[in-house]
């Protein structure tokens, strides 16, 4: 049982090792000649203007999308175990699951009606 999850560790370890080795070789053989203009953020060759990008100004719509995603992602976690055994559980489990999905769908329809999915 535990043996079937060991490969995950092994593959993560090996790939990380491979990547770090490649980085290392790259850092040895590559030239290193930094100067101010090369190290400035790229803005089509113009002088960078305005705030730093990491001040985090972005459209709030992305945040709403992320919240909606969490709702449905939690739903998929319940759907997977249900999908494996739903034939044994029969009609009752099927109806129950769709009541659950229905409740989530009400929230989704509300978000839709409020225009959270309109991208303007």
């Amino acid at each position: 049982m535990l043996l079937s999850y060991l490969p995950v560790l092994v593959i993560i370890g090996f790939v990380t090792f491979l990547a770090v080795a490649v980085f290392f070789i790259n850092s040895i053989v590559s030239p290193n000649n930094p100067y101010k203009d090369k190290l400035s953020p790229w803005e089509c060759g113009m002088e960078p203007i305005g705030n730093d990008a990491s001040a985090g100004h972005f459209k709030v719509h992305f945040f709403i999308i992320a919240i909606l995603f969490i709702v449905f992602d939690a739903e998929t976690l319940y759907l997977f175990p249900w999908a494996v055994v739903f034939r044994e559980l029969g009609v009752v489990a099927f109806v129950e699951m769709f009541i659950f999905i229905g409740i989530l769908l009400i929230g989704f329809i509300y978000a839709w009606a409020k225009g959270a999915l309109e991208w303007v």
């Binding site: 043996l3 079937s4 999850y5 593959i11 590559s30 953020p41 803005e43 990008a53 494996v84 769709f98």
Partner: protein, 341 residues
Amino acid sequence: MPDINTLIEVALIIVKVIVVSLILFTLPIPLTWIERKVAGHIQVRLGPFRVGPHGILQPVADMIKLMFKEDIAPDKADKWLFKFAPLFAMVPAFAVYAAIPFGDKITIPIINKEVTLYISDMNVGILYILAVGGISVYGIILGGWASNSKYALLGGIRSSAQMISYEIALTFSCIGVVMTSNSLSLLDIVKLQSGTILGFIPHWNIICQPIGFAIFFIAALAEINRIPFDLPEDEGSLAAGYHVEYSAMKFSFFMLTEYLAMVTASVLTVILFFGGWNAPLFMPEIPIFWFVAKVGFFIYLFMWIRFTLPRYRYDQLMTIGWKILLPLSLLNILLTGLFLL
């Protein structure tokens, strides 16, 4: 003290992991050449032709060039995250393959030992793949944010919003397959697709899950950032998106991740909907050949789509994801359930 069989198992796992990782690590080299050749011939030109016969050494030359490039980190960047973002993107793309079966079993002729053609048959296989595959989005958003460049930040945020939006439809379309096969293990899913219906239709999931396949394929296209959904790298408005500030090997690791994601999407399409290594009608059973052929066909299909279709606008992308694919995938689950009960 663990017994000898466990030790052999562990050694076998390590060997398999190394072989699979090295194959995947070098796979983008032929794939970039094939992609550029396909692009060339679709657009009635030759594609790479100078380096080696028919340009076959072009990707090797590119790789050597990238190896010798200067590794630039912008002075305003978050140095640690900037360095780790390519790793965050790349390692999950490899880790996914711990659960993907490439075939059933083969016997190695000389030592006469039976070897399974998968690294691990997890009983939660498909859930593991979707979960780990989803981690890649961290690499992209971290790379975009740590660069401290406006294009990179926009590209990273757009990309993550796109990926999480389509991940829902992708997962829901997989649930249809799980319902028909009653298992999360990819090995079981493939085994259930052997044989035929009525003696002449292959018993592949595409037959009983056509809507599921359509949703899966469209969502996979968006998930791996391919045209017509390649908005994260929209050259016209974002320059190169989240990896605009990256150079040298860090840049190539992002590219490697994208190619691996394309291979993963093809492999998953084949395993979930096209019978894995089961041969099509009345064809001889050569498992590995059929698996590679089917995966190759889907990789070619992704390239074909890339050079045929234009790109969607961002609002269209979100409309397709949330207003069409999501309700449609729920409908698919409902229909599958009603049909099976």
